[in-house]
């Protein structure tokens, strides 16, 4: 009896400890494996418009960022390094930001993006299920979302998840 109770207690401890190591903010996105929602948005600091359809045939990254987002600054060097390798096109979705602030932010910290588009009222963000900036999507040649990173891309995430996935998708 006593041993049974101890075993049950230990099982409960293990269960709760495992629960504590999980991040409740990481909600699995139902969009992974689905086509990236279509949009057509103006480019930041330009007249042309951009739509994901233009990226057909390429594996690319869509990174949601904003100048007001503190953890975007943490991930920024990782993106700058990634852009230097020219591994895949990187498109920025400037989410609910003021144009001047966004341009100033890029001028100050460097612009790793092939281009950024402006989602001023956050509608496209809603279509992509964005709920915590920054978020990053890996989109394959057919336009299907293959991976979603919620929160900043750390060097570990880049090395262990994103880069291998790009390599796999480009085979």
């Amino acid at each position: 009896m006593r041993i049974g109770l101890i075993v049950a207690f230990l099982a409960l401890v293990v269960l709760l400890a495992a629960g504590l190591t999980r991040n409740p903010r990481e909600v699995p996105s139902p969009l992974v494996g689905k086509p990236a929602p279509a949009f057509e948005l103006p480019r930041l600091g330009g007249e042309e418009r951009f739509s994901p359809a233009q990226m057909r045939g390429k594996t690319w990254l869509l990174n949601v960022w904003a100048s007001w987002c503190a953890s975007c600054r943490d991930e920024h060097p990782v993106l700058v390094d990634f852009a230097k390798t020219r591994r895949a096109p990187l498109v920025g979705l400037n989410y609910k930001d003021a144009r001047e602030d966004a341009l100033r932010w890029l001028a100050r910290y460097g612009d790793p993006y092939d281009l950024s588009v402006v989602d001023g009222d956050g509608r496209i963000g809603i279509d992509y299920g964005v709920y915590g900036v920054p978020e990053t999507y890996v989109i394959d040649r057919a336009g299907v979302i293959r991976y979603k990173q919620i929160g900043p891309v750390t060097p570990d995430v880049m090395r262990e998840k994103i880069l291998p996935l790009i390599a796999k998708l480009e085979q």
Partner: protein, 153 residues
């Protein structure tokens, strides 16, 4: 002096002249009532223990704006919930549908309850078994003498 007082009074009361009747929170109360009924059942993803109705987070305000527009466009509650589930998953629903991935969520509490009752039943049965162990006549007599000695002392 009197003129000065008049000026002061005019300045003090000009706010009243500009004040207008309080605007209702939303133009259409029926839209708002449906929005609130829906939003009570939806989770805010930024502040996860708050409903969309209660949350003042930026994203919650945006989502309420979207829902308001969908209501005006004549969308049904089911369509609106589908719109959100497609983007954010079952997690946005406070009452997610019963399916494979949510089975443990729905059945878990009942499993724990049944487990708890089973434990109590085992415990009670063991205690009864322990109590039922009775003494033989010889032991009884000995116990009596021991107890008797003790009370006499």
């Amino acid at each position: 002096m009197r003129r000065a007082l008049l000026v002061v009074a005019a300045v003090l009361f000009c706010g009243l002249a500009l004040a207008r009747e309080a605007q209702p929170l939303a133009a259409d109360e029926r839209v708002e009532a449906r929005l609130m009924a829906l939003a009570e059942e939806l989770r805010c993803l930024v502040c996860q223990n708050e409903s969309l109705a209660a949350s003042r987070a930026d994203l919650a305000m945006d989502l309420k704006r979207e829902i308001r527009e969908m209501i005006r466009a004549g969308k049904s509650d089911v369509e609106i919930r589908d719109f959100l589930v497609k983007r954010y998953g079952d997690f946005v629903l406070y009452r997610p549908p019963l399916k494979e991935s949510t089975l443990l969520l729905w059945a878990g509490p009942f499993m724990l309850l049944v487990g708890g009752f089973a434990l109590i039943a085992i415990f009670i049965r063991r205690r009864r078994a322990a109590q039922a162990a009775s003494l033989s006549a010889e032991e009884e007599a000995r116990a009596d003498t021991l107890l008797g000695e003790r009370t006499e002392r």
